[in-house]
Amino acid sequence: MSKLVNFTIDGVSVEAKRGETILQVARANDIYIPTMCYISKTTPCASCRMCVVEAEGVDGFVLSCNTPPTEGINITTNNAQLEVERTNIMKLYDVNHPLECGVCDKSGECDLQNKTLEFDISQQNFSTREQHRPIENWGLINYDPALCIMCEKCTHVCNEVIGDDAIDVYFGGYSSVIVPKNADKLDCTFCGECIAVCPVGALVSSEFQYKANAWELSKVPSTCAHCSAGCSLEYETRNTSIDNATDSIHRVKNNFEFTSLCGAGRFGFDFDNQAKSDSAAFAKARTALSAAKAIRFSSIITNEEAHTLQLLKEKLGIKLFNEDARLYSSFMKAYSSVSGKLHHSGSLDAIKQADGIIIIGSRVATDNPGVRYALTTASKHKGAKIVYAHPIEDVLMKNTMTQFMKYEAGSEEGVMALLANELLKDADLSEQERAFFADLDLGYLEAESNVGDDELKLMTKNFARSTKRVLIIGSDVFAHTSAANIAKLAAMIEKYTDFSLVVIPSQVNTLGVSLIAELDIDEDISDVVGYNAKGSFVISSLEAADLAIPALNQQEGTVVSIDNQVLPLNVAVSFEGFTLNDLAKHVGVVKENTIDYTKELNTAAGFQALEFDNLENYLDKYGKDIRGYILDEVTCEMNGNLESITPLPEFNGTVIYHSNPVLQFNAYTNITKQLERDTTLRGSAQFAAAAKISDGESIEISFGSSTIKRVFKLDPELKGTVALNPTFDINVAASEYRFLKSNIVRSV
């Protein structure tokens, strides 16, 4: 694998790794080759032919984007003939391209504009008959075929990175266009990556279109605040309007060359808190805090806020409630007790590079799109075999997964035991561990979990050639009664095989909070101050709070992503009010700014003593991620032992699964303007029959101690007796297992 190919580009000696193309080597060595359709994160589109180079001893030109070099070859990237070739390509691109740069959204950051000027195309030598091509509206996306240059970047990204495979090229020579694949109207997850990669103004955000120009917007580099993938993004701000000089976010962009962003990050940016400063509320908050017995908070906060809460706990002797982070923390503690490491070993990058992946306990396409895109990338680029184990099949993962392993809801512990048993067959286990696997009643586990021996054998067969494997565990298992044992089994797999492990934190900063705050078991007591959570006095960045605080796009701070990476957040929109730090100052936890805590974060958990202002937040031109820092590895005591498998629970009747529709994650995505809010309970025909309800009916769902009203929607793509219940618009206790037995009645 390590064999290097030596060759020269423009007389410069360079080296190529196996599989690298001439263009990749040239870019890595800062040699410029112009391209129109090339995008680093996909396979070459090879539609523009701008990247042609001359290779010594080869007739004609060579496409540098998809040609690997041979030993000793001499490449010329620029001479008179190549210049003519490229100039002609540019002239052809400009044929009938509407001269509406004045109104085009892309003007100022347009590849075609840049290249036209670069090649000095000042006149038109070619012509063809103008066609009538009306603008199409695809929901959040507008497509103008007249502007489209058919570079095919959008289709490549949609298929190879996102996995929606929703758009396609309709071939027809000069009348080629991009069309929704096998459909009249675009039906996709609306990640908007096609908008991001479009080099011209053909694909644009319909909400943003004609609102502002590229040069008017200030860029604020930050991190997406919706899920734990920690995607890098840039908020682009400008004065709201002529009458309102305060800045607001106009759009979100990402470094599409190397990273991806889902629709929630791209279109769900307006979750800032616009409440005004209220001193009376602040005085009340001070009283409430000094009388509080506990603070209940959510994981949608920064590390610095979590640290402040921890200091408040120490100072005031109160309790901290956060079931979401507490469950994650105890899951990871159990993992550490076997693996000897505090943090899981995998990352999104490890997933992208992997060739064998098991994912269990997560409806990943909606839980964490970042992981989904990594899975798609692995599947399309590395040919990764992906085993998707879950009680409910997901259409969005259909193109990505190799094998669907359906198990019964609640049987995750059994499934993990079966997986471990299969994967650790030849491992060098200790006496005790061997005894655990010897004691397993495989017949019972297979029968109850519904995962057959043949499925496990098939998985082993799929993984036969895999060398880099990843096990991904989702948030279903955190609230499982045997979560600790599941974590230990996962740690075993990681320890004894080549698997690395990724545990998907359920909220944006669940991981950070779990490392910083010492959490107590939530009790239903009075005098609880809610911090972005329920309580007798609510301090929140959402509406209807007793004291308003800034949302995550209005404050500086850090969050910890799924990659164990500490990522900085920046202020995109100003906030005129009080913060937790102001409140803490009054009870003796004094620091001038919240970010003064960044360097004081818990070093025992791997945080580094770095100032917030010293944290970088960008990707360099080679695509290297230079954002924040990765948590230091921390070793732990290995004292955990596997416990015998408890009898697997059974979920019969009408079971609901807490799962959000695409692009919705929490109360913050719920208040954004552009994201669709589908609050229906979605179930299969089988579920409808079991619950005795039909499509479009208003129903009342009771689970645990809560009762909510929903409309039932029959989803033909779903199977089985589990229905999907969204949680972004309601308050669901994180301590509850995501699958719940429910009682459904028709509401009158």
Binding site: Q124, Y210, K211, W215, E216, I242
Partner: protein
């Protein structure tokens, strides 16, 4: 035109004015004061006024009732032009005037209209900040924003000077074919048509 190109001042009847040197010493200054006081120079000036008054040879105009004609290139309060073909507003909302404005006094809000075209929903120029440099008129690709001859900066309404409607050519003027094209900075140079290269249409 010829006479303006001739830079030899002697040919145009120019001559040096014979001005006495200023006194430098105290005595000289004293003599000057005495001379000026008793020569009654004031009445020389008054006599000129009196003479012109009697002759009724009036050189002033009664501003504001009368106004001097203003040059076509004068850069006073902006105007927004309409298209000759359709009477529609020329401004396409490209934002270049907003970008180029060095005193940062132009702002616009744009949006997509029902016909999927870019529409300027709000447009203001803060004339209190404007330095009348003419960059906006120069950069405008549509010759939409230009300068006009309206140099008086006083009005009962502050809005008069920042309102898009106020700057826009009134539709009645347009219907009467009375819109004046700006000839100054940013306008089309003469013989522009001859310089345009046409796209081949040989398909």
């Amino acid at each position: 035109m010829e006479q303006f190109n001739n830079r030899n001042v002697a040919d145009n009847g120019y001559f040096m004015v014979d001005i006495e040197d200023y006194p430098t010493d105290g005595m000289g200054k004293f003599k000057r004061i005495i001379k000026r006081t008793f020569r009654l120079e004031l009445f020389v000036g008054l006599w000129v006024v009196m003479r012109e008054m009697i002759k009724f040879d009036i050189h002033t105009i009664s501003y504001p009732a009368e106004k001097m004609p203003i040059g076509p290139r004068y850069r006073a309060v902006h105007e927004m032009k309409r298209l000759w073909e359709s009477d529609a507003e020329r401004c396409i909302g490209c934002g270049l005037c907003e970008k180029i404005c060095i005193s940062d006094c132009i702002r616009m809000d744009t949006k997509i209209d029902e016909d999927s075209r870019k529409e300027v929903s709000e447009y203001t120029i803060n004339l209190g900040r404007c330095i009348f440099c003419g960059y906006c008129a120069e950069v405008c690709p549509e010759l939409a924003i230009t300068h006009g001859g309206e140099y008086e900066q006083a009005s009962e309404q502050r809005e008069h000077f920042v309102d898009y409607e106020y700057m826009l050519t009134p539709i009645d003027t347009m219907k009467a074919n009375a819109q004046k094209e700006f000839e100054g900075f940013g306008s089309i140079t003469p013989h522009e048509d001859e310089r345009v290269k046409k796209t081949p249409l040989a398909y």
